[in-house]
Symmetry: C2
Amino acid sequence: MTKNILAGCLARAERHFADKPAIIYGDRQLTFAQVGEAASRLASALATRLGVSKGGRVALLLPNCPELTIADWALIRAGLVRVPLNPRLAPAEIEFMIQDSEAEVVVYGSDFESTVARLRETSPTLRHCIAVGAPGLGALAWTEVLAKGDPDNFHVDTDMDDLYMILYTSGTTGRPKGAVTTVRSRWFTVFTSAANENFVEESDVMLHVASLGHGSGTKVLNHYVKGATNVYLPKFTIEEFCQTVEARRATTTWVVPTIIGMLLDFPDRSKYDLSSLRTVVYGGAPMPVERLKKALATFGPIFVQVFGLSEAPHPIISMGKYDHIHGTQNQLDRRLSSAGRPSLGVEVRLVTEHGGEAEVGEIGEIAVRGDNVMVGYWKKPEATAEVIRDGWFYTGDLAIADRDGYIEIVDRKKDMIISGGYNVYPREVEEVLYGHPAVRECAVIGVPDAKWGEAVKAVVSIRPCQITTAEELLEHCRKYLASYKKPQSIDLIDELPKSPNGKILKRELRKPYWDARRRSI
Amino acid sequence: MTKNILAGCLARAERHFADKPAIIYGDRQLTFAQVGEAASRLASALATRLGVSKGGRVALLLPNCPELTIADWALIRAGLVRVPLNPRLAPAEIEFMIQDSEAEVVVYGSDFESTVARLRETSPTLRHCIAVGAPGLGALAWTEVLAKGDPDNFHVDTDMDDLYMILYTSGTTGRPKGAVTTVRSRWFTVFTSAANENFVEESDVMLHVASLGHGSGTKVLNHYVKGATNVYLPKFTIEEFCQTVEARRATTTWVVPTIIGMLLDFPDRSKYDLSSLRTVVYGGAPMPVERLKKALATFGPIFVQVFGLSEAPHPIISMGKYDHIHGTQNQLDRRLSSAGRPSLGVEVRLVTEHGGEAEVGEIGEIAVRGDNVMVGYWKKPEATAEVIRDGWFYTGDLAIADRDGYIEIVDRKKDMIISGGYNVYPREVEEVLYGHPAVRECAVIGVPDAKWGEAVKAVVSIRPCQITTAEELLEHCRKYLASYKKPQSIDLIDELPKSPNGKILKRELRKPYWDARRRSI
């Protein structure tokens, strides 16, 4: 008799779809029964052999691979708290997260042997290190741990308020904070993300290319519980992506806008049969409007946009397939530059700086209330109280709603530039720069300026085989932007600094300017 | 700032899809904005003008019509408890339900003027009668009540544990009991029924032919909150059904198996374009296997089966489109005579008479646990304690699961016949009778028998233009059934007695035999 509702859904899938492929990873193929058995073994080994009690934190330091999902399901079964660590994080960041979360266990891939060796010395709470692959000194082998476990649907009781995950924010504005969500949040998003994004049928095949620790990974569970197949790409290239869609007849995928751009630009695209794709969910970064129009013209109305945060898993705001194509040209022009409308199941408000509800066309901070929202930051009551007020989570994102309720993200509150008393929203300037054919990526930041307080600066990388100059780009901006918004300088660089999730780190770009200023004071 | 989560979903739909048709009823067409305004007006009039406080019961005595949905949404907004009354109920039954639920308000259609006049005398709690149509003496006119209301998104706060509905059981075994469900149950079924049955998209059009007070009506909300259109048929005929599917390009419908039979038998079917139908949900009665096979061959894999009860709204058990066609012939043969497998989001067990879990192939009573289950029978703690034990609701339905987990409903526990010490399950005998081409409907019951305790008796109605005799049918049964299961007598009658929901009332058939026996003792 289980009171572990997520484990119940897993067990159901493993019974109903026993011999069906659950996970495909390159040439490996695991059935639902195999995944279920492995997850049950790991769960019971953790709980009974290794003595990790309910609520204990287990860090996962793995690339996209079947073991990551098996570990996820094991943690659900054993009532343990998942701490996903992006493999692209720096060793010092990993160390911080292990220590901060007081993780008792880390499950890691063989690339991280030296990192883990160090963690064992620096992290007093860390009792067990389980290596997927050959274990180093003092570590346990994944296969041996599993061999000691109970293969038969092991689980411990949990309820809705038990902790499910500590997800560290990408830390674009400082030290990462751990967003804590409960079983209730996960349970809620299994159903509401299906209702808001795309329904899952048994015959669906989802291709995962983004990190399973984050966005794309949240969809694995929805597919698994319905008996659909999840396909993981060992290594992303656009050829590999197209080949796999064709070979696996993938129906669904989750991508950042950059990948849609790569797909549109891929000269060999027409060599592949991509017609099985019926839902492409995109999010994680702004989608340039012209790209989106081209994607709709090329692939048809298969796109769904989602907006969410570590602190409030998506979708907070979403734009379905229907909304991408129905409406007057005028409506669509506004809408396609938006993130969509409040999703079903959550409440969203735009709050002005005076605390009132923003009017149509007025800028406000996005606040959200719903079961998807975190209960708080791990061991940071003050940081929590700053962002959760009266039951609403304040996202730090500024936005404008149009008459139809479509919400356009204007910018991160902290990225806003104040120049000569005027508010400048970097996204608006970036959107203009993206309108120039030579611009590959760009970031607009505020730098110290004696006269204006802050000056607008753009940092731009150029697309291959394109030539342009800072002067030409400034001229382009002048055509579309008021003079106070126009960058006062543009730097061309090869590659913009990014977080492990692929987000541009404006902090890094701003740092030298503000450090220099501090030194000069 | 709302804490009324269902009202929040309604308000979202009314804002997002304002000018889209929400309800189509014959020539009437109401947009989301119109439905929303009317519901807000009625909610505020009930709460503030008529003084019906949160938790008050409001009976709805209306045929399928837009006002029924407007009233439903008004009750959600005002935190009032819905008591749906089937228009086909007898006046004495209606009176019982009004009195038992202590309803303060009844909203009624003009056909019920005389019933309501009597209710006013016999039901002391009834304070307001609102007539859709011309009001009788002392009643209020719907239009006048609405005119006094607030058009602008009125709602009161509710939480998940507040009562949502008292739904009276069809009373096939005695006096109806009121199954009480909460906001949590309704909220849960909005998402899980979509995940289990069919996803709703903005472009969907659902055609409702069954009573909106029951099964089909539970789907209105799912469609409404997603911005899909609900079409109500003023009067059901199979021509009207086909015409409306074609005219409205209906994508989804919910029917009892009889209607699928009517559709297959309808000689003019090919004159209509029914190709827009992508999901036909069926339930409420057993589906004869041969009919189902013919339906799949005729319409393709668009069928979804659901099983649920007043006490635990469906789907408790369901069979999706995929399950109707994937599998070996052997698997499919077993499966198509089942109700499907436990639905996502609920837990189902088959419990033997000794209280253990039934093995594969063993008969057990279906027990269910999940947020959809009622909190209990209205003011009947003993009846509640009989059916809800240790958090599980015992449905009274006996079933067998096969190796793949498909659950075949054997019979109602109370309909089981014990003849000469053997258990006879009427459904099994009925399925054999349905295999005879002349049989339109049948019911198998136990009647008193001096020698065997109970004897097996069948009551049969014959299809138009068919001729058969009791002897021929007995001969047919002898071919397929063990002698103790074979009916000892068969009565041919014109029409089997039915409940307002179309369920055959075995109680009525059994009554004369058992009454006679009682008299003779």
